[in-house]
């Protein structure tokens, strides 16, 4: 049983905790320990974590406390613990990507994101569950069992980063890192009533992020408040010479934007193609109400059309499998992770084949096969080539829309959290969860999902997506901060405070 003080600590925002640590009201060790205790208490039900690194997290917390005692200036999130998606390499700590094929692998190096977290004095509590190699929208495709949604343990927490979102929503951590290839930060944020940001492609280093689809992947913050997301975004973002797709320009000041939280005079575009058929009524309703609030706050709302968005899902499911079939080739049992069938007689090809057969789950195999097929020289132009053309058209749709508007909005996901098992055997139904989030990845833009209420029909969280042009991440925070503030004023609290206690 936790004490009232600890119970209180875990429900604070990261910004509040950081301030309390900096002021000496509480130690980083106390804060970290409170979250470790919470994990011990509830993660048996939630299963957000695949690995908990209590020792490492407390060591970082102690170092922060020692720095403070020595009178050193602390970073803005120093001592505030974080949950790391298990797709980022962390030196000496198991990194499985939710796959059996990497069971037991401990990377000999840190991802750039991890390096920056360490440098900021952020204790890393452990690695969070995910769909295998980030392929999925429910975390049911994890080889280590599904994560459950804290709002209803029979429902999915979204995916692929369901572990990170559930860790936030169940107060196991105030901060988490997710990765978003087609919606894996935003869709889990939407269905767990939390905030998730997919930064501009190239805004956060991918070095050390185990690649699913290199041209789409991007790491970003998962938090309970918009300001916390901005603070974490600022820690992990910025140019990295080890990622040649990393943008060298200085990143926009997202923290200042979150503090300003002002939409007056902004033009907000409502994407016609991302509403209507296929969207749950309660999702639409809460989304429309939120848009009205934005209008009320002084934004001008216009409807825009992005006619090629309807091809985004199809093109995405050619580009992603193509890149992933190549990125996942290296898991062949030769150098690390699982090795199957090496009985002294089997040939190297047989061992590779047996290892991949045993080590990959069905969704991973499905996408590797799709991509292998799409890249064959005879089909390349018809599939991969055409998909790249669609990608260009989607970028042009965005450019045209952003010529009229500062940001675009849509529901993040077409439905609220569905039941575990409901779509796991229907890949197409599963893929449709990302219909509204995929266009942003295809174009390299940035986007945020933030909670805008509970759907009346099922009482589950609904997310609104804000989309901005590349390197205009600050606009996400202007809009997100303003909307979050207005909703908090209306409800008297954050939506997440309505989550049932576990």
């Amino acid at each position: 049983m936790s004490t009232p003080l600890e119970r209180d600590l875990i429900r604070q925002s990261a910004a509040t905790l950081a301030e309390a640590i900096a002021e000496g009201e509480v130690s980083a060790r106390e804060v970290t320990q409170a979250h470790l205790d919470r994990i011990a208490e509830v993660d048996g039900d939630v299963h957000a974590f695949l690995h908990v690194d209590a020792e490492g997290a407390l060591a970082t917390a102690d170092a922060v406390d020692a720095s403070r005692a020595a009178g050193d200036a602390l970073g803005p999130l120093a001592g505030v613990p974080l949950a790391l998606k298990d797709i980022l390499a962390m030196k000496g700590v198991p990194t499985t990507c939710g796959s059996k094929i990497l069971e037991g692998w401990r990377p000999p190096y840190d991802a750039t994101v991890v390096e920056r977290l360490r440098a900021a004095g952020i204790p890393i509590l452990g690695k969070t569950n995910m769909d295998e190699f980030a392929m999925g929208s429910s975390t049911e495709h994890s080889a280590y069992g599904p994560t459950r949604n804290p709002w209803d343990l029979d429902r999915i927490p979204g995916g692929s980063g369901g572990g990170s979102a559930a860790a936030i929503a169940s107060f196991e951590a105030p901060l988490a890192i997710g990765t978003d290839t087609g919606g894996s930060i935003r869709q889990p944020a939407a269905v767990t009533g939390t905030v998730g940001v997919k930064p501009t492609y190239g805004g956060v280093s991918r070095y050390g992020l185990v690649a699913l689809a290199s041209s789409l992947d991007q790491a970003g913050p998962c938090t309970r408040t918009v300001m916390d997301a901005a603070l974490l975004h600022a820690v992990i973002g910025g140019h990295d010479p080890r990622d040649s797709t990393s943008i060298p320009d200085p990143m926009p000041d997202v923290v200042a934007a979150a503090a300003r939280a002002d939409v007056r005079g902004m033009r907000i575009g409502l994407v016609r193609e991302l509403t209507g058929e296929g969207y749950q009524a309660g999702v639409e309703q809460r989304f429309r109400e939120a848009v009205e609030i934005l209008e009320h706050l002084g934004a001008e709302v216009v409807e825009v059309s992005c006619p090629h968005f309807e091809y985004a899902l199809g093109a995405y499911y050619l580009i992603l499998p193509s890149e992933c079939s190549s990125n996942l080739a290296r898991f062949d049992g030769m150098r690390y992770g699982l090795r199957v069938g090496d009985d002294g007689n089997a040939s190297v090809e047989e061992v590779m084949s047996l290892t991949r057969e045993a080590g990959f789950g069905p969704e991973v195999k499905r996408r590797i096969m799709l991509g292998t097929y799409a890249l064959y020289s005879g089909y390349y132009d018809a599939y991969y080539g055409q998909a790249q053309k669609v990608r260009t058209l989607i970028q042009r749709d965005f450019e045209a829309a952003f010529a009229q508007c500062d940001v675009l909005v849509s529901p993040t996901a077409p439905t609220t959290a569905f039941r575990i098992g409901e779509k796991v055997d229907d890949p197409l139904a599963m893929y449709l969860n990302d219909v509204a989030t995929i266009p942003v990845n295809m174009a390299g833009n940035c986007a945020m999902s933030l909670p805008v209420g509970l759907a009346p029909e099922d009482g589950l969280p609904v997310g609104l997506q804000v989309m901005a042009p590349p390197m205009a991440d600050d606009r996400l925070y202007l809009v997100g901060g303003a909307l979050e503030g207005a909703l908090r004023d209306r409800w008297g609290h954050l939506l997440i405070e309505e989550v049932p206690s576990l």
Binding site: A89, T95, P107, A111, V348, Y376
Partner: protein
């Protein structure tokens, strides 16, 4: 299996078409995508990091010097340089590739459409052949596999295999020629001349140490045969051609083999073949009848390469003297003609002669030793002249000893034989083998007296004024002194003894 037919017959009946694919390891300080060193010969897997090991999550960053070197090679080969191009992934599974794909270039090479003129000596004088360059592209090298157990040293049948990833990620430039036609019987020499010229260009550019024996220059030779006027035949691709001499031998051997196949009504199979240095023949490797689909696509982890035109022009201005221009200058300085120069180039000894001249050896003497004695020894032992254990300084020293009269030509050969056999420096070999010119007049005079006594009729002829008969006596004396006498000195003493004079 049909037997190969003799070369002269093969080229009398068929026309060869050849093509060369040369891989050159760039001599950059660090690897193509990471900071690991590239030095040859380090203990296995000590020059590796997460990037060149392809560990999950690691990402490549392009080495700017690798791009620069590739462009300079392209410019030296008269290529056009792409204004915008991308790296591509070549996907296939093999344990020497850490990522199970190779980052290479596919349909957007950095340099295209160039040429290289090479000169081969013929009975009618030197012939210039223009070899078209299809493309020059940049890629990463793979690791190196060593197969233990099994008879062939190849992966099939091996008990186990070891991988050294030190080589993985060393920048590699692939230079592909267009098909070379119309060279007839000279095809093997053209192939060799091309690789030699290419090697000299690389050396001149300073982009690679181009050591074939260490694999920093590797050559695949494509050969096909067709009847005159007919369509080109099916080609084979001979790998593992690890010396200039082997280039020529491999092409020649393939021509003989394919002619044998075609002559007996057979069909040449599209395949890779392995060249064996020891036997000089090729054996079949992987079939290419059903070409593997490498599922190329643009490498999404690297940004496109867009070399600025001004930079390319700056690189062009900074190119060193072309080997052909350099050779013309040397030929003039040494007072030799095109034919002699082509002979030196094709024997692979030009730079050795150059180095010897630089060490103080007279050009004629340097040419004589390298193109004659040393080439002969190298051929007999099946190695390149450059790998013989004789240095320009050794030659300079021997020439000094000859000039002082301490050695004669015959003894000098014996000295070099000892030096090459590893017996030490020229002076050490002279001392150890006792190879000094006998100049003690007394010893020579008694040898002369013995020879005169043994051939009284010859002695009589000389006394009678037939000075040209002196050669027989001089020869006998040289034989008796095991070559250690100065022949000129012997002749002088002999004539003096018999009281006749030369004039």
């Amino acid at each position: 299996m049909s037997a190969p037919i003799p070369y002269a017959e093969a080229v009398a009946e068929f026309e060869p078409v050849i093509g060369m694919e040369v891989h050159v390891e760039l001599g950059t300080e660090s690897k193509i995508f990471c900071g690991c060193p590239t030095a040859f010969g380090a203990p296995p897997n000590t020059q590796v990091c997460p990037v060149c090991l392809g560990l999950p999550g690691s990402m490549p960053v392009m080495n700017a010097m690798a791009i620069e070197s590739t462009i300079r090679i392209g410019l030296a080969l008269n290529c056009s340089i792409a204004e915008w191009c991308r790296m591509a992934r070549k996907n296939y599974f093999y344990p020497d590739m850490p990522k199970d794909y190779q980052v290479s270039q596919y349909d957007e090479p950095l340099c295209v459409d160039g040429y290289l003129d090479v000169t081969v000596p013929t009975d009618d004088g030197p012939m210039v052949v223009r070899v078209g360059i299809e493309r020059v592209h940049l890629e990463e090298d793979t690791g190196k596999l060593t197969h233990a157990g099994g008879a062939t040293g190849r992966i099939h049948g091996a008990d186990y295999s070891l991988v050294d990833y030190n080589r993985a990620g060393i920048p590699l430039v692939e230079i592909v020629t267009k098909p070379v036609t119309g060279t007839g019987a000279l095809a093997p020499e053209v192939a060799r001349a091309y690789v030699t010229e290419l090697r000299d260009i690389m050396r001149g550019l300073g982009v690679s140490d181009v050591k074939m024996e260490e694999g920093s220059l590797r050559c695949d030779a494509n050969v096909s045969l067709n009847l005159p006027g007919a369509e080109w035949g099916t080609r084979s691709e001979t790998k593992n051609v690890n010396s200039l001499r082997s280039v020529e031998r491999a092409v020649r051997s393939e021509i003989e083999r394919q002619a044998g196949v075609l002559k007996s009504g057979g069909r040449v199979v599209q395949e890779t073949r392995h060249f064996h240095e020891d036997t000089g023949v090729t054996t079949p490797g992987r079939s290419k009848e059903h070409a593997e689909d490498y599922r190329y696509f643009p490498e999404p982890d690297l940004v496109p390469i867009a070399p600025a035109r001004e930079w390319v022009e700056e690189l062009r201005r900074g190119l060193p003297e072309q080997p052909s221009v350099h050779r013309a200058r040397l030929a003039q300085a040494w007072g030799i003609g095109d034919f002699e120069m082509a002979t030196l180039v094709n024997a692979g000894v030009l730079e050795l002669v150059e180095a010897s001249v630089a060490a103080g050896v007279a050009p004629d003497a340097a040419r004589k030793w390298w193109a004659g004695e040393f080439t002969r020894i190298a051929n007999e032992s099946g190695v390149e002249p450059a790998s013989l254990a004789v240095t320009p300084a050794d030659i300079a020293r021997v020439e000094e000893l000859i000039a002082s009269g301490a050695l004669n030509d015959k003894l000098a050969r014996q000295v070099f034989e000892g030096v090459i056999a590893g017996e030490g420096t020229p002076d050490e070999v002279v001392a150890a083998r006792g190879l000094a010119v006998v100049s003690d007049d007394g010893a020579l005079l008694s040898a002369i007296d013995e020879a005169l006594a043994a051939q009284p009729d010859v002695a009589e002829k000389i006394r009678g004024g037939k000075v040209q008969a002196a050669g027989a006596i001089v020869g006998a004396v040289m034989k008796a002194t095991r070559g250690q006498a100065d022949a000129g000195k012997v002749r002088e003493l002999l004539l003096e003894r018999l009281g006749v004079s030369d004039s």
